[in-house]
Symmetry: D2
């Protein structure tokens, strides 16, 4: 029997709770002092207790997976995290939102402002464009004030989070030639999700490294949308993802030509100023460089910069945990902002190192 | 400038804070609501801020490493964790203990009750045998009441923790032939410590697997001491450690002949009863088996058992995180008990999975 | 267009060539001077060129996968390797064998001499028991003379190869109490085959380690059969496999009580004598211990031994590459013996280290 | 006692044979039919048999490491591979070369044509500039004819091999804007050498990923030298290396603006033409992309290309094994060319996959 929800706590439902981002929401929310998870859906594991499927999520003794029946879910929670496949989120988000619930969508369905761009890259029409207009892109470092007032958050993609946080001060300060941007990203394998797939089998990934989705990866228009917003004009970028033989982490290396001569110290000063008050961005001193291992299990984005004088190029390196700042941690950061909680509540864990 | 210690909090010093167990103490204590770390020693990194050496320990902005000068340290903290090499701990423990401080020693120096056994396996005489007599072996599942009253804790070794927790119900319930015990352990590489050593280099360890220290590993007498105490008579065991190409985790597979015919269900019932109230032991149902990945970053010991009818053998598998339940987490569990805090305070994190 | 087979070479067909053992046969045979692979089957990849599916098998420009149509295959080769699932091999082996072809079967179907034991562990009746009687268990270190004259080889399982080679001198020399044998094996993930399976996904296996198949693993009766044959009486053993987060390699740690007092040197002398002429067994000196990384990509079995005086136990550690000596390499060794080639032909590669 | 060299074989000495590139020379040369290794130096391991230090190099039963005494070495071999640290090679190369021996130097000392550039990046004066002038840069895909006639080869660096082979057809065919080149490389850890170094410890590298040596890596001028030679004018590039948690492999992702509109097919046609006769370059079809796992243990360079129409950028991905085509394999390829052997002799192994 499930215990009665604690009335002082925010009740939260997670749709798509048996994938890696769903698991990560459960992991982080277990220690969040102001939240109680009251519903978790999974089609394949419906009926199973959470801790039967995932014994390591041992604190969820009372919670069982249920099928995604939105009518039944509606009264179980005040806020819903949706970790559903792209496309499937369109209707689900619209439903909960139209019923007055707060919604944080971890899919791409409500990220792309322009339905034509969405259709072109995702091969789907957007059937809920009026709801789309009400969504806020959940990157607090840009949209914090809007997020605080929003009822519907489109939680950013993992690669876009790493790329946009890396670029933000450079673009805002007009440091670089916008036609020259190269974004070379490397992601841990959990970014591909929890599924049976030969290409994701241990023996195929381990001791390997490859680029994939060249020129066609769907995070490209999302990155371009946000860089364009920052720049105030349309920007296109080269974006190449790679698959790292690690569980977690994205490291993104960005190259852009400087518009005028600057040195590393000067750029660092601008980055430090831009992120001085950000609780989850750590700009490294000149002698240090980011490592995905430094941010494992945390909501932190580590950033390092260097100027290459010989080529007149600014090089920016950013590191995040793709499942935390790149997905579930940022979603909880957004929840904290929407609910008026302390922004860092439940997100203060230090990196699991080594 | 270091901020003034919070007067409501327990002040804690960590001697040997730049190794992996020291780092792990810092990581866990950062979120412990009743503790403030007020001193951290490191000879090599003395003078550096903690977050300069380890940027991912970002919440220690005010703390700098200092050399191990015990007189200077004495007034800085009420409780000291000592994560020093074997041998070096003898005097340091004695000093802080004799000055009235609470001490939790993570070395082996105060674990072995019999100074002759210590001398035989460690090649060192014990110069502080009167202090040795006052130490309590810090395995709460056996010695909880003593720990609560103790001022000096000998924190158990990582392999002994995994082996003794695995064996405890079987030995207490006299299930097995004590002359037949085989303990086959596999440990992640962090167990070997943080050091420059060719044998621990990535390219030597990765994609490799080997046994080491056959017949001679120093955790053998510690395991035997505790099994013997549980059995009420002298027991010798076969113990073989192996090196796993992972960061963290010990999985121990134990074999012992059953004294009488039993089935898996019957043994499981005894294990469940023995550990029913233990916050950090998880006995798995018959269909499940432990995995080090299920306990990564947690203070949990996962245990599974099976009876082999054909050979009349009980097989027990236990999994811990060697840096948490196998070292720093257990040390903090001991601290909680000594100080009258809730035993699980600061130790509730779920596994970082994947 | 496929080039005409070289008439001086043995023509070889591989049934089930797109799994890991099939790929490994292709990899090794590519450099075998006396063999030409003239057929390779795969149901899923039928019609594709081998190098289209596996670009790294670049020397197979002319060879395409074909479906398993035994009548069409019959005339294409003089010898067939069968790397088919258990059960499926029964008929296929019988067909090629009855048509006068030489057959090396990598499945378990022809390994277990006793059809009742096969039925009990594999849940299948053996429909070709007269053919079963003609098969020879392909462990050259025991059955070399029979293999030379055989037309049908049951290629040993990976775990049994590691366990039996480890035990052979101890059992033949009657060193150990046969009722006390514990075999604790750890295998790389390629042993589970090439398939889409959530349990084998990178993020599930990486940084993890677990036991599996406790008490029920199907290699148990195969190990017992061969140990019993060596001992001259029925032996049962404890056998526990574990899953290592590496691509290749099995390390097996074996424990057995000594029947009389011996030291490590004495046991080593017997092991050295037993394997003195074996081209693929390397007994290590007392100061060394096996590592799967030392045998990666090779047909070598590395063995180390130690006596534990305190417990009167002999400890044996063996290491093989599960895909080479544990499968495809040993199959080629058997082929060499059957065909009168030099036993080591095509099998002399040194370990890929690091 | 060492056996007498086979008089029909080329005698070869390896200076610096206990590092990873030295070990790899030993591994590959063990199966080279026309070579006998007659000397191997190591200061630390002098006096030890090769197979005592590296049991997996089992075929070197007669060979012992000796100190680097060049007079003693001189008569032992006709050709010397030098795998010594940068700087140390200057004199050693000059000595053997001036005594009429053939020399293949795996250090950087004879790669940079311009002594001022060498001094600026390596912080060393070049004391043997007349010998430097006689060295040939050992990239057969560019300098095959010169290599055939050379007595002194400067074997290319691992990153430059991957970058220059990736760029060659694009630069020769004047496809790209030479001021826009970004070279983002990711290397396995063996590239850092075999040494005790905390930064290379398993627990520091595993599950991590980072950039290093930004803007300052010494392979930069070597890449620029060769791209400039191909272009016929001075080129500077952005080059960023990263450390991958794998043993072997370099994947390099290259970005350059196209000078005129082209599609992927058109570029691929030029790449296929450029490398049609190259035994060790594999240009992949449009649907495939390189993976370091496809080239593990081989001398092959895998190359894939894509045009990004939206940004007008050519993206090239190349993959090599840093220890084979990036070091020891290419050195042996150069030896084959110098000696008039078949260029692929001893280098035909297929990838160890998985």
């Amino acid at each position: 029997m499930m215990k009665k929800p604690d009335t002082d706590k925010l009740t939260v439902g997670i749709c798509g709770a048996s994938g890696y981002t769903g698991m990560e929401l459960l992991r982080i929310l277990a220690l969040h002092p102001r939240v109680e998870v009251t519903a978790a859906t999974s089609e394949k594991s419906a009926g199973k207790k959470v801790h039967e499927l995932f014994p390591f999520l041992s604190s969820y003794a009372g919670l069982a997976f249920e099928p995604m029946d939105r009518e039944k879910l509606l009264d179980k929670a005040d806020l819903f995290f949706l970790a559903l496949p792209h496309g499937a989120s369109q209707e689900a988000v619209h439903y909960f939102f139209s019923k007055g619930k707060k919604v944080i969508d971890l899919s791409a369905d409500y990220r792309i402002r322009d339905p034509k761009t969405y259709a072109a890259w995702y091969g789907l029409l957007h059937a809920r464009q009026s709801t789309l207009k009400k969504s806020v892109y959940g990157l607090p470092e840009i949209y914090r004030d809007k997020i605080k007032k929003a009822a519907l958050i489109a939680n950013p993609g993992c690669y876009p989070t790493s790329a946009v946080l890396g670029m933000l001060p450079a673009v805002r300060n007009r440091l670089v030639n916008l036609a020259s941007i190269v974004i070379d990203s490397k992601s841990g394998t959990s970014g591909a999700g929890r599924k049976a797939d030969l290409g994701l089998a241990f023996c195929e990934v381990n001791e390997g490294f490859k680029a994939y989705g060249l020129v066609t990866h769907r995070h490209t228009p999302e990155i371009e949308q946000e860089i364009s917003n920052l720049a105030g004009k349309k920007v296109v970028v080269n974006f190449t993802p790679h698959l790292l033989p690690v569980d977690r982490g994205i490291l993104t290396t960005i190259y852009a030509k400087l518009r005028k001569k600057m040195n590393t110290k000067g750029v660092l000063a601008l980055y430090n100023r831009a992120y001085a008050k950000e609780p989850f961005v750590r700009v490294l001193a000149e002698e240090s460089l980011p490592n995905i291992k430094h941010v494992r299990g945390t909501n932190t984005c580590e950033i390092g910069v260097r100027v290459n004088d010989r080529t007149g190029t600014l090089i920016i390196v950013s590191a995040i945990d793709n499942l935390v700042k790149g997905a579930s941690g940022q979603a909880i950061q957004n929840m904290n902002l929407m609910m008026g909680f302390d922004e860092t509540e439940g997100l203060c864990q230090l990196a699991l190192y080594p």
